[in-house]
Structure formats: structure tokens, C-alpha cells
């Protein structure tokens, strides 16, 4: 059982003004090994909080979250993370960024070099090993971030809006790459996104979260991710079922946003 299990997860913040914010309320879900979960929702619904708790950067107020039957207590190598802006170390080259985790573990340099070359080839950055990262484009930086995370061979990959800052064309290419990596490595992945299309395309499962308090509003099981492994992603978007789901979810989020606006006013 190498599942991610969340039981009655609660997260309550206190703002500096003294108000309490219920970021997550009674979150229960189970993610099986090898599943790709996308999480969608309006801003403030606790997506990032959920990810940070899973990564171990913050501790939940109550409830528990376990990976492989082990309570998550602080950050760990078995849970890799990919950030929106890449969060690369710009003082290092591409190869040095990718092998950062292995270097910290003081692994054999020759072995490390081999692995780096392998992963750079997988993410399509062959020959860029000695390039300083600040010279890379946004898409290339995200490829480096992916490789850096995957080289550590984590059980779970957490992606916090990894494609949010990319232009449309690069985004599409990166979506294929994520699917390709998912298929080839068989890793469990949680991907947070703002884009309904992206959530539908990549998610084997999809949670739509609602704010105040943050909770899972609706759950979908989707066929598009498995289709995307064979078909062109653009073809899937033309699929009738796809557009129907997209409209449905958009409507849902739109209503939530309106509700928040109403509350605020």
C-alpha cells in the first residue's frame, strides 16, 4: 500500500488581525499509487495549503495525512515538489541544479553524472548541462525543475501550478511532457492548476475545491489523461464530452467566485 491517505484534515490560520481562516475543513481522500490527481478551484480554496501540508512545509491543525502508512512530518525526499516559477538556483548550471539532491546526499559523482544526462534527455534538454539557468526560457526552466525533482526518484510528485507562467504553446508541449513522464515513471502526481482545460487534460482524477472553508466540492474520474497518451492533446479538446465537462466546471467555479464576491460586499 503506497497510497496517500488524508483523514479529517483541518487547517486553521490566524491572520495578523486576529481573524481565523478555515483554509481546509475535514479533508478526506485517498490517492492510489500511480494516480494523477489535478486540483482545481477559485483562489483561496486551500489548494496550495493542501500541497504545502503534503510536502511537509506546514503542519495541519488536526487530522492526519500519511504516505505509505507513514505520517508526513516535515519535508522529505520521497515527496518531490515543482514550483510555479521553477525556483531554480540561478547561481548553478542546469546540470548542477538537476544533481542538487544527489549532491546533497553525497552520491557517487560518476553515477550522478549518468543520471543527470539521462534525465536531461528525457525532459528534452540534452546538451544544456553547462548552461547557466538564468539564460534559459521559462519552459526550459520548468523542464529543469522537473528533472531536478525526478532524479531523486520520489514516490509522490507535487506540482504547484507548474505551467501557470508559460505561454500557450510552451504550455501545451509541457502538458505532453508531464503525461509522458507520468506514463514512463508511473509516479503518483498531484498537480494544482488554475486552468480548467489543463485540469481536465492531465487529471486521471480531478477535485474541484470550494473556498471558505476549503473543501472538496466535486470529484471527477476522467478518461482524457489516458487518451492524451495516445492522441494529440488538441484533438481531445475538440471532444464533445470534454467541452461539456469544461463548461460544467467553469460554471461551478464561476458560481463560487460570485458567492465570494457577494459575501465580501
Amino acid at each position: 500500500m503506497s497510497d496517500l491517505i488524508s483523514q479529517n484534515l483541518n487547517m486553521i490560520f490566524k491572520t495578523p488581525k486576529g481573524e481565523t481562516v478555515h483554509a481546509l475543513k475535514d479533508l478526506n481522500f485517498t490517492l492510489k499509487k500511480g494516480e494523477l490527481l489535478t486540483v482545481l478551484g477559485p483562489s483561496g480554496c486551500g489548494k496550495t495549503t493542501l500541497l504545502n501540508i503534503t510536502a511537509g512545509f506546514i503542519k495541519p491543525t488536526s487530522g492526519s495525512i500519511t504516505l505509505n502508512n507513514k505520517e508526513i512530518d516535515g519535508p522529505g525526499v520521497e515527496r518531490g515538489m515543482v514550483f510555479q516559477q521553477g525556483a531554480l538556483f540561478e547561481w548553478l548550471t542546469v546540470a548542477e541544479n538537476v544533481n542538487f539532491g544527489l549532491r546533497m546526499k553525497k552520491e557517487d559523482p560518476v553515477e550522478t553524472q549518468k543520471k543527470v544526462d539521462e534525465w536531461l534527455e528525457i525532459v528534452g534538454l540534452k546538451g544544456f548541462g553547462n548552461t547557466p539557468t538564468y539564460q534559459l526560457s521559462g519552459g526550459m526552466q520548468q523542464r529543469v525543475a522537473l528533472a531536478r525533482c525526478l532524479i531523486n526518484n520520489p514516490d509522490l510528485i507535487l506540482m504547484d501550478e507548474p505551467l501557470g507562467a508559460l505561454d500557450a504553446l510552451t504550455r501545451e508541449k509541457m502538458q505532453s511532457l508531464v503525461l509522458k513522464i507520468w506514463k514512463e515513471t508511473g509516479k503518483t502526481i498531484i498537480l494544482i492548476t488554475h486552468s480548467v482545460e489543463e485540469a481536465l487534460l492531465l487529471g486521471e482524477r480531478l477535485y474541484v475545491m470550494a473556498p471558505r472553508p476549503g473543501r472538496i466540492h466535486k470529484e471527477y474520474n476522467l478518461p482524457f489523461a489516458s487518451m492524451g497518451l495516445k492522441e494529440d492533446l488538441r484533438e481531445i479538446k475538440k471532444n464533445k464530452d470534454f467541452s461539456q465537462k469544461r463548461e460544467e466546471i467553469l460554471e461551478m467555479i464561476w458560481n463560487m467566485e460570485e458567492e465570494i464576491m457577494g459575501k465580501d460586499n
Binding site: A55, G56, F57, P75, G76, V77, R79, G80, M81, F83, Q84, Q85, A87, F89, E90, W91, F100, G101, M104, K105, P132, T133, Y134, Q135, A145, R148, C149, N152
Partner: protein, 641 residues
């Protein structure tokens, strides 16, 4: 020679560059629109024009062009100054450069003074009517003295003859002065003069003092006439001095005036004697009236028109000497801007910008001279190398207690009086540097001392400030504990600490290095702290989930991420240290570039002052350029991440 070549070079450079610039504008196909910053790119030729103009202004305003092209002009103008000075007293008696005769203005002045006293006496409440009457009678008597001097009929024949004699002498001088062979000089006299000229040296010459080896300030303009033209003016000035003395010894005192003034003085004297202590006011007024009478007595008042011939003679001579100056007048007007040598009178010093703005050629020569290790400044070269035995350095670095803590005893002399060396004693010799090894060259001198102080202060500041700053940026205890300490001493201007630190730690290197350490420490702490607390959280999160430990995150993420801030901090600290150091060296010390400037200030060695300013600028620039190179090399990602 240097100046002439330089001036021509500048001239050709400016003309050439302007022509090139104009051609470039004409041939350029697309001129960028106004407001486009690209318009300001390039243009090295304009840099040449700009710096040439700067140099030209320096050459001109420091009188170096005059010195380069007319090296004798200063000496000749000095002789003209002597003539002007001798002529001044005589000229002053007549409306030549004044509005009225000296006699007229004196009479006006004393009449006014008498009237003033009269009014005061009449309105005074402390004087009784009897005293008033007496005092006013004295005033009118004093007033009546003046016509005795201005009456032409009373002018004595003897006085008239003397005036005529002086006038004749002036006319003769004018006549002689215009002759080509004036003054006649024997070969012996010529040789003597040339010897004096050589002993005195040229205009603004630099000499090295044989005793101390330091540069001595020399006289600015040579006084002894070096040219024949100068000699002419020099001789005329000497003759004029004699004539002038003769005139001012002359007094227009006819017998009538003499008896009247004697009478008046005695009358007042006896009146004052008879006054009691309570009548002090009257006594003071009487005294003041006598003072005015005495002023009239010695005021060289002559009857009108009695000196007309003399006035004409003086004007004639003045015109003759002005004509004789010829081109010298033009040089004086055009090549001695913002001042003149003539204005300084017979002392012949440079006045105006020529005084405080040293000539580029002089400055350069002096710099070359000072750069020689045998000369230097105050027995210490600016920058040189000395051979130091490595053993001395080892002895300086290793602390002496290393020998003390070793087991055993130091050797004791035997009864034969021999000291046998043992291991512990041998170690002591090593840690105190008491042995011979090979020698290595080590730089020393004023510049090196200043550099070393800044360098050491900076290095200590970095070594302690950076770790402390990073620690403070990451740890609540460290921030809370050290913050008040640092925030208390940091806002105090560094120089305010200087007197305290110098008096505790001494005027030598220790005190100054500590002061600079204090300056750089606060800057390094603040920049390292800002760097550490400015690290993006996502980078730290990424490092955590990649399995890095706390230590590794500090070493591989936070430190490199703070590097841009730290290096910028170092750049700021260098500037601050440099400024503080020079000021601290002003306060106290025996070496260093600031010390040199401070000493030069005391002796008005303007060239040395400018040389030190130049050296400081160059060293500061060197520091900054080096740091900029290092920054570009070590943090190429800055501003691009």
C-alpha cells in the same frame, strides 16, 4: 617644454575630433529620434574633446601656459611690480588714479572732523559754558592753520626749489629710462647678477631638502631681474624709491605756520594741565583737537598748483614705463587669469588661481620626484619595496606563548658561563623570529599603508560581519540579541568614534584598522542580513524537499543567494572605509596618504595636496573597478534570475 607640447597636442586633438564628429553626423544615414537613449552611445571623440578642454582650463588657470610659453614673464612682471610700488606713493598725491589731490581730500577730511567735534562740544551737557568757549576757540585756531599752508605767497623759496629739484630728477629718470642702454651695467655687475639669478632658481622651481629628503616649497616667482628688460625696471624702481623718500621728507612748514602751531599746542597743553580730574571730558576734547592739528601738520598740504610740474613729470614717467612694458602687458592681462603677479607688489608672489591651482607641469615634476623612493615624503616613499626576512613574519604571526606551554624549562647558563640550547629554547627562537631565513620583497610606503588599512579593516569586517549578518537574518535570537548593539553604534558617524579609538588603540595601524573594521562591520551585517532574509521561500522549500540539511541549505542556497547583496555591501563599505581612513589619517598618524595631505596643508604645498587628491581618486577608482570585475565574475546571474 612639456606644457608647450601638451598645448599643441590638445589643440590638434580638439580640432581633429570636432572635424571627425561633424563628418560623422553628416555621413550617418539614420539619426535616432530625440529622446532615444541610443543617441548617447559611442562618441569617444567627444570624450577626447571634453577631457582636452578640462586639461586646457587647468593649464590656463594655473598659469602653466604663461609659464610654458613665456617662462621669463613672471620675473619681468615682478620688476614691473617693483616700479609700480615705488611710484604708488607719489602718484597718490595727485589726481592720477584718484579723484582729487591728496591735499584737497586731507583738508576736506579735517574740516569735517573739526565740525563734528564742534557740534559735539556745543551739544554736550557735561561741559560748562566756559569750557565750551575755550574749546571752540581752539577749534577755530586749528581751522585757521590750513590757509597758512595753502597760501602760495607764504610758500618758502627753499621748499619750492626742492620741489623743482625732485621734478627735475623724475624728468631725468624718464629720459634715461627710454634710452636703450639704461641702466649701464659693468661686466662685473652683470656676472654678479647672473650668479644671484642662478642661485635663486627659476619660476616655481622644486628643490629637495638635502637634510630630510623631503620636498621643500620654494619661492614662487624669482625676485632678482634675470633679463635686461627686467633690470631696466628694477633700476628705475630703485631710483624712484630714493626720489619718493626725498619728497616725503619735505615739509611745507613756513615760519608763520610753525609759530602758530607751536602756540596752539602749548596753549592747549597748559589748559589741560590746569584742568582738574572732574573735568576729564573737556581734557579729552582738547586732546582730540591737538590730534587734528598734528595731522594737518604732517599731511603734506601744499598750495594749489604748486605741484603741477611734478604731476606732469610723474604722468610722463608712468606713460613711459607702461610703453616700455610692451607685450608684457598683454601677457599679464591674457595669460594670468584670475589674478596677477603685479598686484602682489615687490614681494612677487602668485595671486589668484595661480596660487592654489598648481601648474600641471610642476605637479607632474613633483610627483615624479616624490615617487622616487629616496625622496618620498617625510622620509617615507609613496610606494616601494623592502626586503624582509621571512623569519620576522613568522615571529610576528606565531604567538610567543607556544614556547611557554611546552614541557621543560628554558636553558640556564652553566657555571662556565655557557648557555646550552635546548628544545624549548629553540622553539622560543622560532616563535620570536630570532633566526635567519631567506628574504622576500614586501611593499611599504604611504600608499601601501593606506591600502593595507582599508584592506584589513574590510577583511575583518567581512569575516565577522557576513556570518553574523546571515545568522541574524535567519535566527530570531541572533537578530534580537545583536540588533540593539549594532543599531546603537551604526548611526554614529565613524569619525565620531575616531578620537576615542585612536586614544585607546594608538595612532598607528591598530586604531585605524579597528575604526575601519567598525565601519565595514555594520555595512556587511546589514547587507548579509538583507540577503539572507530576502531568500525566496520557494527556493528553500525546493532545497528541503530535495533532501538538503539545514547546514547544506545555508551553504548551498542562502549564502549564494545573498552574494549579490553581500558584494554590493562590500562595494559600499570600500567607499565608506576609504573616506573614513583619509579623515582618520588627518586626525593622527605618521604615514598614509591622508597624513601626507595634512602635512602638505601645513606648509602650503599645493602641488602635494593635489597629488594626494589625485592618488586617492585613482586608488578609489582602482578599488571600485576591481570590485566591479569581481562582481561581474562571481554573480553573473544578478538581476536576471
Amino acid at each position: 617644454m612639456l606644457t608647450q607640447i601638451l598645448t599643441f597636442l590638445i589643440f590638434f586633438a580638439v580640432v581633429g575630433c570636432i572635424l571627425y564628429g561633424r563628418r560623422l553626423i553628416r555621413t550617418e544615414k539614420v539619426d535616432a529620434v530625440f529622446g532615444n537613449p541610443e543617441r548617447a552611445l559611442g562618441g569617444t571623440h567627444w570624450v577626447i574633446v571634453g577631457s582636452s578642454f578640462l586639461l586646457l582650463i587647468w593649464l590656463y588657470y594655473s598659469w602653466d601656459i604663461a609659464k610654458g610659453f613665456y617662462p621669463k614673464s613672471a620675473n619681468e612682471l615682478c620688476q614691473v611690480a617693483k616700479v609700480n610700488d615705488s611710484l604708488l606713493g607719489l602718484k597718490y598725491q595727485f589726481p592720477i588714479e584718484e579723484r582729487e589731490f591728496k591735499s584737497t581730500s586731507q583738508i576736506k577730511k579735517e574740516n569735517k572732523n573739526l565740525k563734528l567735534i564742534q557740534n559735539e562740544i556745543q551739544n554736550s551737557e557735561e561741559l560748562n559754558s566756559q569750557q565750551k568757549t575755550i574749546l571752540i576757540s581752539y577749534i577755530s585756531k586749528t581751522n585757521q592753520l590750513i590757509p597758512l599752508l595753502t597760501n602760495k605767497d607764504l610758500l618758502e623759496i627753499e621748499t619750492q626749489l626742492k620741489i623743482d629739484d625732485i621734478t627735475g630728477k623724475i624728468n631725468l629718470l624718464t629720459e634715461n629710462f627710454q634710452k636703450p642702454d639704461y641702466p649701464f651695467e659693468t661686466e662685473q655687475e652683470f656676472n654678479k647678477r647672473m650668479k644671484a639669478v642662478n642661485e635663486e632658481g627659476g619660476w616655481g622651481i622644486t628643490k629637495v631638502d638635502a637634510g630630510s629628503g623631503s620636498i621643500e616649497n620654494t619661492l614662487e616667482v624669482p625676485l632678482v631681474p634675470a633679463t635686461y628688460k627686467g633690470l631696466k625696471f628694477h633700476a628705475a624702481a630703485q631710483e624712484l624709491n630714493l626720489i619718493s623718500d626725498e619728497f616725503f621728507k619735505l615739509r611745507n612748514h613756513n615760519p608763520q605756520f610753525k609759530s602758530r602751531i607751536k602756540e596752539l599746542k602749548e596753549e592747549i597743553k597748559s589748559y589741560r594741565k590746569d584742568l582738574s580730574d572732574s573735568e576729564e571730558v573737556a581734557s579729552t576734547y582738547a586732546k582730540n583737537i591737538v590730534k587734528i592739528a598734528r595731522r594737518i601738520e604732517f599731511a603734506s598740504i601744499y598750495p594749489p598748483n604748486s605741484l603741477d610740474k611734478m604731476q606732469a613729470a610723474i604722468i610722463k614717467f608712468d606713460n613711459a614705463q607702461k610703453k616700455e612694458q610692451g607685450g608684457l602687458r598683454l601677457i599679464d592681462i591674457f595669460l594670468f587669469p584670475a589674478g596677477t603677479i603685479v598686484a602682489s607688489g615687490p614681494s612677487c608672489s602668485e595671486q589668484g588661481s595661480g596660487r592654489w591651482l598648481p601648474k600641471p607641469s610642476d605637479t607632474f615634476n613633483k610627483f615624479i620626484l616624490m615617487s622616487k623612493p629616496s625622496v618620498g615624503y617625510k622620509d617615507i616613499p609613496l610606494l616601494w619595496i623592502q626586503m624582509v626576512d621571512v623569519s620576522k613574519m613568522i615571529g610576528f604571526i606565531l604567538p610567543d606563548w607556544i614556547a611557554d606551554v611546552l614541557p621543560g624549562e628554558y636553558p640556564v647558563h652553566t657555571k662556565e658561563g655557557i648557555v646550552k640550547q635546548n628544545f624549548k629554547g629553540g622553539v622560543l627562537k622560532i616563535v620570536t623570529g630570532d633566526f635567519n631565513l631567506f628574504k622576500v620583497p614586501v611593499p611599504y610606503g604611504h600608499i601601501w599603508d593606506s591600502f593595507l588599512r582599508v584592506f584589513l579593516g574590510l577583511v575583518f569586517g567581512i569575516l565577522i560581519g557576513v556570518p553574523l549578518g546571515l545568522f541574524m537574518g535567519l535566527n530570531r535570537f541572533a537578530k534580537g540579541f545583536f540588533d540593539p548593539l549594532i543599531e546603537l553604534y551604526r548611526p554614529v558617524p565613524p569619525l565620531a568614534w575616531a578620537p576615542l579609538i585612536i586614544s585607546v588603540l594608538g595612532i598607528d595601524n591598530t586604531g585605524k584598522v579597528f575604526l575601519l573594521f567598525m565601519v565595514s562591520l555594520s555595512i556587511m551585517i546589514i547587507s548579509a542580513r538583507a540577503g539572507a532574509s530576502g531568500t525566496q521561500l520557494s527556493k528553500i522549500h525546493a532545497a528541503h524537499s530535495l533532501g538538503a540539511s539545514k547546514k547544506q541549505i545555508l551553504r548551498h542556497v542562502i549564502f549564494p543567494n545573498s552574494l549579490p547583496e553581500i558584494l554590493t555591501g562590500i562595494r559600499v563599505a570600500v567607499g565608506m572605509c576609504w573616506g573614513t581612513l583619509v579623515a582618520a589619517e588627518f586626525l593622527a598618524g605618521t604615514t598614509g596618504i591622508g597624513f601626507v595631505e595634512n602635512v602638505a596643508k601645513k606648509y602650503f604645498q599645493y602641488e602635494v595636496i593635489w597629488i594626494t587628491i589625485f592618488i586617492m581618486g585613482m586608488l578609489g577608482l582602482l578599488f571600485d573597478v576591481t570590485l566591479r570585475k569581481i562582481i561581474d565574475k562571481t554573480i553573473p546571474w544578478r538581476g536576471k534570475g
